[in-house]
Amino acid sequence: MRTNTPIAIEQENKSTWKFLLSELKPKGKIFTPFNIISVPIILAGLVIIVIRFWKGIGSVTNLTQDIPWGLWIGFDVVTGVAFAGGAYVITFMVYILNMRKYKSIVRVTVLNGFLAYVFYAGALLLDLGRPWNVINPIIGNNFGTNSVLFLVAWHFLLYMIAQLIEFSPAIAEWLGARRIRGILSGMTIAAVIFGITLSMLHQSGLGALYLMAQEKIHPLWYSEFIPILFFVSSIFAGLSMVIFEGSISHKVFFSQISEKNHHAQKGIILGLAKICAGAMFVYFFLQVLVFIHDKNWVYINTPMGYWFLLEMIGFVLVPLFLFYQSYRKNNVFMIRVAAILTMLGVILNRLNVTVIGFRWDMPVRYVPTWMEIVVTLTVIFVEIWIFRWVINRMPVLRDAPAWAKDKH
C-alpha cells in the first residue's frame, strides 16, 4: 500500500484545482427558507459596513463617549466567544480524559469554535476605529503587556491557530492529502493542550477586561471574581451550544451522519447535560458566595435587583434543575429546553455586564441601532453559510474516509 502513495498524490495534485473549483459551487437547493431570509440581511449588512468605514462608527451605531462598547463587543465578541467554549471542553474530555464516547462530536464542535472565533472576534475589526493598526500588538508597536486586552488579543490569535490545527486533518481528508494528514493529526494533542490553556485564560480574560470599570458596572454584576465567573459559565455556555447545534445538525444534515453516530447521539446529550448541571451548580454557588461577600442584598429591592434575580433564578437555577431532572429521567427534549434557557441566560449575563449594567445610572441608556443588529445578524449568517459549506464537503459529521482511520 505504501508504495502506491506517491503516485496517488501526483494524480491528486493534477486535479486539485479542478476539484477545488467544483467544490466552490453550491450544493443542494438554492431557495431554502434560510437562504431567503439570510441573503437580504447579509446584503444590507454589507452596505452598513461600507457606511461604517466611510463615515465613522458613530454614523451606524448608538455608541457615545460614555458608552464606548456596545452590541458588537458585548454580544458578538464577549457572548460569541463564551458560546465557542464548547470546543475546549469537548477536546479536554476526548483527548485529555479519553472519553471516547464524545469523539464523534469533536470535529463539528472544533469547527464551530474555530468559525466562531474567526467571525465573532473578526467582528472586532468592525468596532476598531483604526483597524489598520490591529497588527501593532502582534508586531510589537508596542507590546502593551500590562493590558488584559493584550492578553486576550494574543490568545484569540493563538487559539485560532490551535483550533485550525485540531481541525486540519478533516481538511487534509477532504483534499485526499494522506501524508500531510498524518503530520497534522500528530500535532493534535499539543494543539489541544495549548488550546485548553489559552481558553481558560482568555475566557476569564474577557471578564477581566471589565475589572477596571469598577464604578461603571452595577455592583450586582461587578466583582473581583468576574474572570472566574466568566470561565465557569463558558463551560456550560459552550456545552449548551453543542447540544443546541447538535440537535439542529442532526435534522439538517441527517443524511451525513452514520447509523452508529445517530444512536450514540442520545448518550452524548445525556452526558453533556450531566456536565452542564455540575458546572452550573458550581457557577450558582460562586454567584451566591460573591453576592454574600459583597453584601449585595441592599440592591435586591430595586429594578436592577429584580433583573438580577430573573437572571439567577430563571436562567441559572431553572435550567440547572431541568438538566438535573432530564438526566435522571432520560428526557432529551427537556435537555434541549434547558440548553436553550441556559444560552439565553448566558446572553443575559454577558449583556448585563457589558451593556445593560454598564453605566446603568446614565440618564440616556444605550440601545443598539437597527444597523448594529443587522451587522450582528450578518456576522452570524455568514458564519452559518461557511459552516454549511464545510459540513457538506469535509468529513466533519460524516465518517472519515477509510484510509484515514486512526492507527494509533
Binding site: 465613522g56 462608527i57 463617549q65 464606548p68 485529555i96 483597524p131 494533542i189 485548553i196 476569564s204 471589565y210
Partner: protein, 287 residues
Amino acid sequence: MSINRRSFFKVLGVTGAALATGEQLNASPQNVPDKEFYGVLYDVNRCVGCRSCEYECATANNLPEPPDDIEPDRKTDEKHRTVVNEHNTSKGVFYTKVQCMHCNEPACVAACLTQAMYKTKEGPVTWRGNKCMGCRYCMVSCPFDIPKFEYFSPNPKIEKCTMCFDNKVQNGESPACVTGCPNEALMFGTRRELIREARRRIAEQPDVYTDHIYGEHEAGGTGWLYISPVPFEELGMKTNIQKASYPELTKTFLYSVPTVFVLVPALLAGIHQATKKSHLKEEEDEN
C-alpha cells in the same frame, strides 16, 4: 613591639572611617535629582470662571474655539479638552475645571494594548496615533471618563488633555491653560511642590478651604490636584474614586497568567499520559 592594643584600634578605626566615608562618597547621588512628575494645582477658591483656559487650550492645540454661551454641567469631548463648569454650592457659586487628571498610574495606560496611551517620564499622559487601533478600552477603563473618540471620522483619533506635553512642557514651558489664567487659579510644578503649596494654603486659611487635596490619593494619586472651599461632591466631581490605583484591579489576574501557563499544560499532559493506556485497551476491545 611598637604597636600596642590601643594604637591598633586607632589605626583600625581611622582606616575603617576612611573606607566608610570613601564608600559613602561614591554612593551618594551625583547631583542629578530623580525626575519628578509634573502636575497642576487648581484652586477652586481663586477661579472666577472666565474660561480663559478653555480658549487658551483650543488655540494651543489647534482645536475649534469653545462656544460662547454654555450649558451647565458640560463634559469634555472630542473637540474640547477642557471645560469649566459653574456650580451652586452651600457656600455660593464656584467653578470647576475638568480635564485629564494625569494619574500617576493611569488606568488608560494599563488598558492600552499598544502603549498608544503613554505616561511620559515628566508626568503628562499622551496619546500616540501611530500605535492606537481605536479599540476604546482606555475609555472603558478611565475612572474619570476622559479619553474621547471621534465617532464620526473614518480615521478617528482619541482626544484628551496632554498637559500640552508636545508643544509646551517638553520645552520647559507651562501648559497653555496655566499661563493663560488671569487669576493664578492654576499653578504648574512638580507634584511634590504642588502638594506642599496646597497644604500651605489649607493650613493658612483653614476656614476657607476644606481639608482635602483632591488627587493626592484619588486613583493612586493624580498629576492634577484640586483644593476647594466646599466638599468636592458639590462641585460635580467623582467622589467614588478608589484610593488605590486602577491598574491594581487587574494585577491579580495578570499575575496568575504565567502560573496558569506553566502548570496547566503540565497537568493536562500528565492526565493525557495517565489515560492513554486505557485508551489502547479500549481500542483493542473495539477491534
